[in-house]
């Protein structure tokens, strides 16, 4: 990749020596920046406060200095948005039970701490591709471009419900039933417009 990836890495790991590990310097040349958090709660706050930016989270799985473990943090990130890719980065042995927890928690991928820097960068590139190409991320970006005032006004009436763009954004991020339905509709529209096979324009 010639250009830097337009993402901020949020790295949450309570192993302080990782903060100064050389692999972070290598990654930093590939992305806009890296924010390191020893305390998971601070990392979560950062994600919440910068949710309008492209974020990829690198998350340790076993925490010694926090009651929160990787599984809990994954859930908390998914509560904020399921669109933030999380790469679990762990030195712990991952069995099938742990792997299942990761998948259920919307983890994007898992990289062992003894992997090479290239392997970790590859995982980050894959996460970046998803941000670029996932229709949900495209919808999120479109809504965020509309500005605060427009986003907070009533935008849609469907059934007996009224939705603002912020409501739609939240539904897309959390992928609740309305969010899934809205995503499905946009995909359906895109498919029809793209194939344009129903009639001559």
């Amino acid at each position: 990749m010639d250009e830097k990836m337009n993402i901020t890495i949020v790295y949450i790991d309570d192993d302080e020596k990782m903060k100064n590990d050389a692999f972070l310097d290598d990654i930093e040349t590939e992305v806009d920046g890296i924010e390191y958090f020893e305390k998971p709660s601070e990392g979560l706050t950062y994600i919440k406060d910068h949710i309008d930016q492209n974020i990829v989270v690198i998350l340790d799985w076993k925490f010694n200095s926090s009651s929160l473990q990787g599984e809990d943090i994954l859930k908390d990130i998914a509560e904020i948005s399921t669109l933030v890719p999380v790469i679990v980065f762990t030195g712990a042995r991952i069995d099938a039970v742990e792997a299942s927890k990761m998948f259920k928690g919307h983890a994007f991928s898992c990289v062992a701490k003894d992997a090479t820097t290239e392997e970790l960068v590859e995982a980050i590139k894959n996460a970046y591709d998803r941000i670029q190409n996932d229709i949900r991320s495209v919808m999120e970006k479109w809504i965020l471009k509309q500005g605060d005032e427009k986003r907070s006004k009533p935008y849609m009436r469907s059934g007996d419900k009224v939705y603002t763009l912020n409501d739609i954004l939240e539904a897309i991020r959390k992928q609740d039933e309305f969010g899934k339905e809205t995503t499905r509709r946009i995909l359906s529209l895109a498919t029809e417009l793209f194939t344009n096979n129903m009639r001559e324009k």
């Binding site: 006004k153 935008y155 849609m156 009436r157 469907s158 059934g159 739609i168 809205t182 946009i186 129903m198």
Partner: protein, 214 residues
Amino acid sequence: MKLNAVVIADDVAENIGELCVMLKNSTNQMLEQFQQARNDGVEVDHFTYCHDTINKHNLSEKVSPVNANGFLCCWYGHGSDTSFNMNGERIVTTTDNHYVFSNAVIYTFSCMNGGTLADVLIDNNVRAFVGYSGNANCPYGIDNVTCDIAMSFVSSLLSGKNINNAVEDLKLSYEDAMFNEELEPFQRSWFQENRDGLVIKGNGGLTINDLLVV
């Protein structure tokens, strides 16, 4: 010869009252234009009811005078799979006032009325029903677009096309909106959903001439 038409619009429907008024006014305007355009002496008797003139108790009394023969009936307001509502009241349900619309061709812009309620109405001698099996979505700020689309059915039907063809025209209007790059992506997708939720029940081959009363 005359055409009887009944327009029922919930002008105080939560969030969609103004749209319902637009739909009602446009329908009445089209009915007047229809009468003017006919050179064969056909007159239109159209009766318009809103929240202050119709409720579930008097609906039968209001509609019965025309239901011995064919008539056009348009509903604009909130609905569900089993009811059409006026001012929050379920004025037509699968068990209440479902028998009032004998001989009608019913056209609705309301959510989900094309499901169970439409089936019951057809069982009770409604000649044809056009509506939505899902939500009738209406994005804010572009009621004029939504109204124009919804009215394309009425316009086509009054021009002499049969119900099936008028619904095809309605679908084309939705498709125009789907392709309209001046509309926003979500708006376009909701119009697509409306198009896909359209249903015709009963005799789709009927034309407006089949409803004329001697």
